[in-house]
């Protein structure tokens, strides 16, 4: 007798019902459940949910490094990533090589790229909802894995006559060797360590009441170039009460907290008077009260209220010794309340027509204490053009933004196995991650909308054709989208982001124009499963500045950092036998835009560079093939210990995919003699990377 879990014909990433991709109202959705997670392609740190999501059409990353992911040309901060209903602000361990989500204990993951329900707001591009839950609520299970970078251990168990379920998991790393192999002199002299742990306690009080208590912590420590030390921590917690009035009417009341803290310190012992520490962070608290009413099988109504309180500490600089020459800087913290009410109605009007219509009204209040600068209107914003400032007391309303966010999704069934779907959503986003680096960097700053920084508004239109073949063995879809971003944020040339009380003066608003076509074919059953997707997309931006400083590329349309027009993914799982399975994933995408030096010139004894227009050039195209072979030790259902070996090779043919281009200067003499420049490409995985991982469960 063998386990069904590896029975031939299991899908890798699939919807709740085989035909739900056709029959559901929701379009642009990616769902992964427990079985799907088991067969995810292997990434550097093992099975990585977020890295795997980036293999789906319309989802990309800027490379092996880089925090988060980009959905349909949006920046990473435009994704609302929820773990048990609480947003997480930094998704990365090791600068993006591994995500902070431990796949052990995850029961399902849903990514919405368009047609986002009115239940969700806050971020403009997508929602990723990660829910934890036991694999089997009735028995104790232990899982573990020993990987190339980290190891993990996980326990789930019922308690007190199955009234309580406890999940607890943790991971820890030993990843220094990896950094030492990256040919950046600073990274070679660096060290890194991370851990994360999560726990979920579910208490079935009675038939009508259930309480979930969730906690999560992740910690990264990164010693950069021996003297600089970075630390960041995500701390998440939530308490959820589900109360059922009747089988048709229930609510979920959730209170959550997300605390993200970042610290950078530099303590060269030979110069103690210059040693310093900078602390920054985001404290987010929210409550959600969602009511669900299901009048009948074809009709569901959700309504509720949300409130989120942001408290951002942009930076606090302190000296670390008594003889310090560091002038302490305490940036004023930012506080805001974002509240919303919503109503969404999903109704199947006829077998051919279903509609999900909703509306969300968000109200954002920027709160004191804070100091607001008034800039001279006929000059570009800068420190020098400040003509006045206004001080506001604690919790005093400084400014308000609000707006209606209509959401519509429509499904028209064409036949038993085909449908057309349309969707439109508008979302306002009031918090942004400001960055002028290609990767997550210490200088990245979370910034709230303020009187001098308008909120981002995203209007997203999508239409799709969905058709299944051969009794849902094959799923296909064609989606076309257009996404307009108003008041997106770009940094001005030479922007100074760190500890800058006039940060808004170094930023400029741009319009974003994202559009694309996504083709998707998936085989769900048989010995061979997998999918192929091709996306053509553009992500363009345009500034509308009046002053030279506010113009990017002279107000001409230019590609955003995430503009990679062609993207092809081929993923195949082949079940060779009951115990052996093979996975191969091929990825191709157009190289991402970069700004390169075009000219060199002399100025006052220095040799300097003149750069191209922003993002004028592109890195070479990216392509990579990863393969893995998995052997399950025993499939006998009576055997408690079940182990599996996975041998994988990342980047099988050793493609040197450029992550970034940088230039290095030759010796700079004290007497200002000329420097020589060379341009280099940095590869994160420049050779085939073999890995052997052992996973177990009992």
């Amino acid at each position: 007798m063998y386990e069904r879990a590896i029975k031939l014909g299991e899908v890798v990433i699939y919807s709740e019902r085989a035909e739900s991709n056709v029959s559901g109202t929701q379009m642009s959705i990616v769902k992964i459940d427990v079985k799907g997670i088991k067969e995810l392609p292997v990434s550097i740190g093992g099975k990585d949910i977020i890295r795997s999501i980036t293999l789906m059409p319309g989802v990309q990353t800027i490379g092996e490094f880089g925090t988060g992911f980009n959905v349909r040309g949006g920046s990473a901060d435009q994704n609302l990533v929820l773990i048990e209903d609480v947003p997480i602000f930094n998704l990365s361990h090791l600068f993006g090589l591994i995500s902070v989500v431990n796949s052990d204990g995850v029961s399902n993951v849903t990514l919405l790229k368009a047609g986002i329900s009115a239940k969700y707001g806050e971020r403009a591009s997508s929602v990723m909802d990660i829910q934890l839950g036991p694999t089997n609520p009735d028995k104790t299970t232990v899982k573990g894995g020993i990987g190339i970078i980290n190891s993990s251990l996980y326990l789930e168990t019922p308690l007190v006559d199955n009234k309580i379920n406890l999940l607890i998991g943790a991971r820890s790393s030993y990843s220094n060797w990896l950094l030492h192999s990256i040919p950046d002199i600073d990274l070679m002299n660096s060290s890194a360590h991370f851990y994360d742990a999560d726990a979920l306690l579910s208490f079935n009080v009675n038939d009508r009441n259930k309480i979930d208590l969730f906690g999560y912590i992740s910690n990264d420590r990164f010693g950069f170039a021996k003297t600089t030390d970075y630390k960041y921590t995500n701390l998440l917690g939530s308490l959820r009460w589900k109360h059922t009035f009747t089988n048709q009417f229930f609510f979920n009341l959730t209170a959550g907290i997300s605390d993200y803290r970042f610290q950078v310190s530099e303590s060269d012992t030979s110069k103690l008077w210059e040693a310093y520490r900078i602390n920054s962070g985001v404290l987010y608290k929210n409550t959600k009260w969602n009511f669900s009413w299901l009048p009948n099988g074809n009709h569901s109504i959700d309504f509720g209220i949300n409130a989120a309180l942001y408290n951002i500490q942009p930076g606090k600089l302190t000296g670390l010794s008594d003889s310090t020459i560091i002038n302490p800087v305490q940036m004023l913290s930012e506080k805001a309340l974002e509240s919303a009410i919503y109503l969404t109605d999903n109704i199947t009007l006829s077998p051919k027509l279903a509609i999900d219509v909703g509306v969300r009204y968000s109200l954002y209040t920027y709160l004191g204490p804070n100091k607001i600068y008034i800039y001279q209107p006929d000059l570009p914003r800068s420190r020098g053009s400040v003509i006045d400032s206004l001080m506001y007391g604690n919790n005093k309303s400084i400014c308000r933004y609000s707006g209606l966010e209509p959401r519509v999704s429509l499904r028209i069934t064409l036949s038993n196995n085909s449908s057309v779907k349309l969707s439109y959503n508008r979302i306002h986003q009031y918090v942004n991650l400001v960055s002028n680096t290609a990767v997550m960097a210490p200088t990245d700053v979370w910034k709230l909308s303020s009187p001098n920084l308008k909120p981002l508004t995203c209007d997203h239109f999508a239409v799709g054709y969905f058709k299944n073949f051969k009794n849902n063995m094959y799923e296909t879809s064609l989606e076309v989208y257009y996404k307009s971003l108003t008041n997106a944020i770009e940094y001005k040339n030479g922007a100074d982001l760190l500890l800058n009380p006039y940060l808004e003066a170094d930023l400029t608003n741009v319009r974003g124009y994202n559009y694309g076509v996504e083709l998707y074919v998936k085989k769900n059953t048989g010995r061979l499963t997998g999918w192929a997707s091709y996306t053509f997309s553009r992500s363009l931006q345009q500034s509308h500045g009046v002053f030279t400083e506010d113009k990017i590329n002279d107000n001409q349309i230019f590609p955003s950092n995430f503009d990679r027009p062609n993207n092809l993914i081929l993923n195949a799982n082949y079940h060779i036998s009951k115990r052996w399975r093979f996975n191969g994933t091929f990825t191709y995408s157009t190289g991402r835009p970069v700004t390169l030096p075009e000219l060199k010139f002399d100025y006052q004894g220095y040799q300097l560079l003149y750069y191209s227009d922003r993002n004028k050039y592109r890195l070479p195209d990216y392509h990579r093939l990863d393969v893995s072979m998995t052997l399950d030790e025993s499939l006998k259902i009576r055997r408690k210990w079940k182990g599996s070996w996975t041998f994988s090779i990342i980047n099988l043919y050793g493609r040197k995919n450029a992550y970034s281009v940088y230039y290095q200067k030759g010796a700079h003499m004290v007497s200002n003699e000329y420097r020589q420049y060379d341009t280099y490409m940095l590869y994160i995985i420049g050779r085939p990377l073999p890995m052997l991982t052992y996973s177990f469960t009992f």
Partner: protein, 380 residues
Amino acid sequence: MIISGLLISCSKVYDPHIDSAEKVLVIDGRITNQIDAYHIVLTYASQFNSSEKNTPSLGANVYVTDDHGNSFKFNERGKGDYVSDSLQFTGQPGHTYRLHILTTDGTEYESDLQRMFPEVSPDNAYAKFDNQVILNGVTGLKVSTHGASIFMDIRNQSDTVPRFRIVSNLVLQYYNQGNFQLDWDHFLLLQYYCWQTVNINSNFNITDEDYLSNSASIKNHPAGFLDDNNNVIAIEYYSKINMDDTTAIAYSGNWHNTYLIHHRILYLSQYTLNRETYLYYKSLYGQIQSEGRIFDPVASQLNGNIKCITDPEKKTIGFFEASSVSYSEYIVDLRNLVNSQPVLIKTPCILPPEPDGCLIDIPGSKHHNVPAFWISTGNT
């Protein structure tokens, strides 16, 4: 357990295709409030990945106009260097200036109007012993070096927002002696007074913007670092004797030698910048500060203040600056310490005639040839 025996990352020299064949004029020009010959240097930028050196723009018509309708011609001195007549033209704080250029191909360029702000002197300068990792100018290697960091305090002396750039030049005085053989029995003793100037800032040094936010005095502004070596590797000079008047002229060869440093003299030039100039230097600073490291900001364009009049689409690089400057001079004493720290002794400012040079004095002759700025007393 894990087996992984291969390195995974690498980098290699990359030669991207750059499609900029345009001939772009670079303007490097500055006028000040000091009685001096001002220089406007015109060159053409070279492609980033080419091995060509920048070529000078020759035969241009260069002049500066002011807000009183005056026009001041700059005469070509070769290699794209155009120089004003110090007797005819001195910049005046409070006035505005514009640079005009007409190149031989008929292209006309013009700068934005530049207002010159009044000069401001530093309140105080002082030194602290320090260790810094600097590039050795001879070996090209980074070495930890003991020396002194220079700091300045600057008080805002006007009701306008002050923006400054500091140039810190360290003049190293060194002696040499030689004999000139007149005949079998007679020699002339030659005393060489030589000096070498080094810029002790590795980047453009502009004052912190936090200073701008409150217009109060700035404290502890770093003004450079100098090592405490007793010796300097400097140019070796030779003598040419005029027997008629018993004078000697020094000329430099291609050789360097090691000399004992007699005095270190620090010249701080404090330029008062207008807003546009400050922002330009800030951009330059950002570019030089960026070492191509993985967390460095994405580089961006430098926007100058020169426009092509005949073809507004034509790219132009560089800046024309009108900044007043205040010079101050300090003897750096690394030996006679106060509170265990080096001492800066302020002295009347006399600038060396050239950055590097040598004068030869023949003791006993009627013509003394000691540099006017020379510090003779003691040894620091």
